[in-house]
Structure formats: structure tokens, C-alpha cells
Amino acid sequence: MSELLRIENLSIDIQGADSRKSLIKGLNLSVDDLQTVALVGGSGGGKTTVGLAILQLLAPAMKISEGNIFFSGKNLFECSQKQMQEIRGNDISMVFQEPLSAFNPVFRIGSQIAEVLQIHTDLNRKQIKNRVLELLDLSEVSDPKRVASYYPHQLSGGLRQRAMIAQAIAANPKLVIADEPTSNLDVTIQARILALFKKIRKELNISMLLITHDLGVVKFLADRVFILNEGRVIESGATNTIFENPKESFTKKLMELI
């Protein structure tokens, strides 16, 4: 199995008005082809920041002080703005925590999924329309045609998350970064969305970087786990190993919460 994503010694600082606080301190992480890797940590620990750093979409106050991120052997920090735009959505895409705010409230779901296809594919209008319905169907939306014509606020939380997943996989990315994809859903829907992730990852040969605080989700989806605490990876390894034999007290604490 070859390596798809490698984060080397990544450090990120938050630049305040007159102070600099370091958020991530020398993070190392790798995702192999077709593998799902979980990045687990407490809230406010900078997990989302790592996800955004991969796409180079950090807020202006966040500064990468050192480190490199390689994707398919290419150093992302050496890519131009234009090359990054090509990579985003096409090679790496992201599923956000709160789909209600991640969708533009004034456009219909269908047209927002179509937007990704317009940018990254050469399909014509009609093909795009069909592809949108296909994608929604793939995301196990029961009535794709109707859902595509709805505005984000008209859908239930579960449906919105499915639509978000359809949008993320629209351009056949190699890597999907899922940032707390189920935290805002109730337990029954959570289970279904996780099952959907499992199915999609298999059907489309997608690798995943799962960012979460919920070890229950990790146990269900991830092949490898990286535990992040205070800006450092304190423990990593295959999911089974970690669950059977956690070494660090922080990991143990997290496991008690399941």
C-alpha cells in the first residue's frame, strides 16, 4: 500500500495582537491509500486546524511555522494558489461538521452539488444534472430529485449531511477529510451516516482522514488512530491495538467516555 498523505513535523502558531501561541507542535501523520485514519483529540485542540492546513485554508491569524505536507508525493506548501484550487474538491475534499452553515442558504442543494462538477469536470449541463441525482442516490437519499430542489434549511439534519457527503465525493476525490461528520446528529442517524461512509469509501476507493473526539466513531470506521493532545500526537497505532491496550492516560480518559 502506498502513502497518499504525509504530514511531517507540522507546527502551527496563532498570531495574536502581540503574542504568539503555538497550537500544533511538530505533528506527524500519514494516510495510506484506501485507509481511514482518525485524528482524535479534545475540543479546541487544533484538530480542525490540521484539516484546514492540508487544504491551505487556514484563517489569516494561523501561521504555519514549520513542517511539510505531501499529497501523492507533491509538497502542498510549494503549490501555487491555482494548483491548490485544482486539488481542492478534485483530489482532497472536506465534509464539515455543521452542514446547515456549510451550504449556502440561498441556493438549492442540487445547484450547489452541480457547482463542484462544473469546476472539476467537463460534463455538460444535462450530464451534470444526472450526475447530481446519481450522487444523491449514492448517498442513500431516498428521493434525489426532490431533495435536489430543496433549500438547505428545508432538509433534516441527516439529509443535509448526506447531501454534504454527495457534494464532497462529487469530483471523485482520493482523500476526504471528515471533520466531526456525525457530532450534530442523533444516535440512530449517526449510525446510518457512518455506515454510509463505510459503503462509499469502499465503492469509490476513497481514503479518509476522520477528525473527531468520539472514539465510538473511530472504532467503527478507522484503520489507524492518532491521538492528539496539547498539540502533539501522544499515541498512534492500529485501531485494535489502541483500543485493547491504551498507553496514555489521556487516551484512557477518552475511552471511558464512549
Binding site: 481542492r88 464539515f96 457547482e115 430543496y150
Partner: protein, 364 residues
């Protein structure tokens, strides 16, 4: 189950439709713009058809009962001009000579919507008769005809001017707010330079810079360009502020994460959210353009005789003598007033419909 979604715009339009006053204003504007488009057909004469013997002729009476007290087709009588001892013009109806009003009559040539040449007019009288339903001006040109022809210029200048300055205002404001930093600083200082100079004097100065040998069409375009040049700045400032707040929304980040380009994010994810503000601002700023053109033309700096605009028609009403003895030449002023009131009422109603948080006090 949820119904098929109404777009936010459709919901706003439903609210707007309940405002009867605003709907009435839309109707009035539709009539005004409609008659401006078909000015050539609706007006009995061309804008420059003059007859000095009808100088300041008062509005003619249309009769439907003839001298034998029988109902006939509408007609007007011949107007005879005489002077009293103070050289004041006195027009008297000559009951013996009458001219019936014909519909779809042949007259001055014009082009339908500027394309198809035609000589048919909706109504008129046969020569040698003359028809001045709303009176005539100093050179005996029909005021109704000139009002209709003038409406073309006065009403279109607002729409075209506003579209150009809003296009630039939105785009420049969006770019400024989205990128921030140096670009923002530069653009905003530029806006302030333009806004710093009092609008009317800037307008006069720019007008003076336009070559005098320009023909009327070129002057018309020059005026639009001048207005647009002044108008975009204030809008750009507001849009920039909105863009700064909108760019921090998560869907903008999500769009970036999907590889959407900057310019597309500005046009599809930021500017559409300023639309409720923009539509209202458009409606409320059109009167400014109409007033601006009227003011320029009133001062003789805008559209030149023989071409008509409501402003230069009104410039005939500068003296007390004219206003006192031929008050009908104030009619263009009434139409300017009517148009502006309509745009303002529609603007207010749209604001109430599009943005409930801005709803003005005391309205239900």
C-alpha cells in the same frame, strides 16, 4: 411533508404583492416606461415639429358635441392668436373651423423602438390643423409629444446609469471586502476621494470636460458615464462591509474547500447575499439619477434643444411670466415628481419585503 421550496426571493415577492400602494406605483411606472418606449407612436408630433403661430398655445379643448348639439367624433377647434395691449398672447377658439381627431393617422416619421421606420401615429389631426392637448411651448411645439420623447431620455438614464454603477459598485466592493489588505485599502481610499467632492459640483466639472462638439447621443452617453462614475463609490463601501462579514461564513470556507475560484466565490457566494440590500438601494437611487439629469438639463448643461428631456422642458419654466400665463409648461415637473415618488415607494416596499429587520416603524 415539506412543500417544494419557495426561494427567498419568491417569499419576498409574496409580501411585496400585498402592498397595494407599491403595486399601484409599479403600474404607474409601467405606464410611463411603456409610453416612453412607444413615444413615437403615441405622440401626435415629432419632438422638433414646431409652429411659431402656436407659441404658448394653451391646452386645447376636445369637443364631442358639435354646433348642432349632436354627438360627433372628438374634434378640436382652430385656435386664433391675437395680442392684447400688453402684448400678452390671447388664444380664441374659432368655432367655425374644426378638425376631427383621427386615430392611426399619418404624420411625422419616426422609428418604432428605434428600428422600424413608420409614420403612423396613435392620434392626431390632419394638417393644417394642429393638436395641442397639453398645450405648446414657446416655439409652438406640442408639449405632450415632447413629454413622451423626453421620457425616453429621462427615464432611461436612471435605469442605465444605475445598472452600470451597481455593476461596478458590487464587483469592486465585493473584491475589496473579500481580499482585504492592500487592495481593500487602495479601493476604499479611491471611493472616499470620489465621495469627498460634493456630487453636484463634481458632475458639473465632469460635464465641462465633455467636448462641446458632441452630438446629442454622445452627450447622453457622457451623462450616464458621469453619473455612474460618481454613483459606484457609496455602494462599493457598503458592499465591502457586507463582504467582510460574509466571507467569514462557513459556506465560503466550504466553497473554498471544494476548489471554487475566488472570483466565483465573490459572485456566487458573497454578492447574492447582498441582494436584498442592493435591490432596495437600486430603487432608492434611481430618483437621484433622474434628478441629476433633470438638474443638468435644466441648467442647460445636459440634453440640448431640440432634443427633449424632462429637465430641459422644465427649463422653459424659469421665468415668472411663463409660469403665470402658461402654467402647463410645469407638467414635466409633475412627471419628474410622480416618477421619483413611485420609485421611492417601491423601494420602501421592497425593503419591507426583503428585509423584515429594517421594516420602517408604524407600518403593519
Amino acid at each position: 411533508m415539506i412543500k417544494k421550496g419557495l426561494s427567498p426571493f419568491q417569499m419576498a415577492m409574496a409580501t411585496f404583492r400585498k402592498n397595494r400602494l407599491a403595486i399601484a406605483c409599479v403600474g404607474i411606472l409601467a405606464v410611463l416606461y411603456g409610453s416612453a418606449i412607444f413615444a413615437g407612436f403615441l405622440s401626435p408630433y415629432s419632438y422638433d415639429n414646431e409652429n411659431r403661430e402656436f407659441s404658448y398655445c394653451p391646452p386645447m379643448k376636445v369637443h364631442v358635441i358639435d354646433s348642432d348639439r349632436k354627438l360627433t367624433r372628438p374634434y378640436v377647434n382652430q385656435m386664433n392668436l391675437s395680442f392684447d395691449k400688453f402684448h400678452k398672447r390671447i388664444y380664441t377658439e374659432d368655432k367655425t373651423k374644426s378638425f376631427p381627431i383621427h386615430f392611426f393617422i399619418k404624420g411625422d416619421s419616426y422609428k418604432v423602438i428605434g428600428l422600424v421606420p413608420s409614420t403612423r401615429h396613435f392620434f392626431g389631426v390632419k394638417v393644417p390643423g394642429r393638436l395641442h392637448l397639453w398645450g405648446a411651448d414657446s416655439r409652438g411645439r406640442d408639449l405632450l409629444s415632447r413629454l413622451l420623447w423626453g421620457a425616453r431620455i429621462s427615464l432611461s438614464i436612471g435605469l442605465i446609469g444605475v445598472s452600470i454603477s451597481f455593476f461596478f459598485g458590487l464587483l469592486i466592493g465585493g473584491i475589496s471586502g473579500y481580499y482585504g489588505g492592500k487592495i481593500d485599502n487602495l479601493i476604499m481610499r479611491m471611493c472616499e476621494m470620489i465621495m469627498m467632492i460634493p456630487g453636484f459640483y463634481l458632475m458639473l466639472a465632469l460635464r465641462a470636460a465633455v467636448p462641446t462638439e458632441f452630438n446629442s447621443l454622445q452627450v447622453y452617453i457622457a451623462i450616464i458615464v458621469i453619473f455612474s462614475f460618481i454613483g459606484w463609490a457609496s455602494l462599493a463601501r457598503v458592499i465591502r462591509g457586507m463582504a467582510i462579514s460574509l466571507k467569514q461564513r462557513e459556506y465560503v470556507l466550504a466553497a473554498k474547500a471544494l476548489g471554487v475560484s475566488d472570483i466565483k466565490i465573490i459572485t456566487t457566494h458573497i454578492l447574492p447575499h447582498t441582494i436584498s440590500y442592493s435591490i432596495v438601494a437600486v430603487m432608492l437611487s434611481i430618483p437621484g439619477y433622474i434628478m441629476g439629469e433633470s438638474a443638468l438639463s435644466f441648467l442647460g448643461l445636459g440634453i440640448q434643444d431640440p432634443y427633449a428631456s424632462w429637465g430641459n422642458l422644465l427649463s422653459e419654466a424659469m421665468g415668472i411670466i411663463q409660469i403665470k400665463f402658461s402654467p402647463w409648461i410645469l407638467l414635466p415637473g409633475f412627471f419628474i415628481f410622480l416618477t421619483i415618488i413611485c420609485f421611492n415607494i417601491i423601494g420602501d416596499a421592497l425593503r419591507d419585503a426583503l428585509d423584515p429587520t429594517l421594516k420602517s416603524e408604524g407600518q403593519s
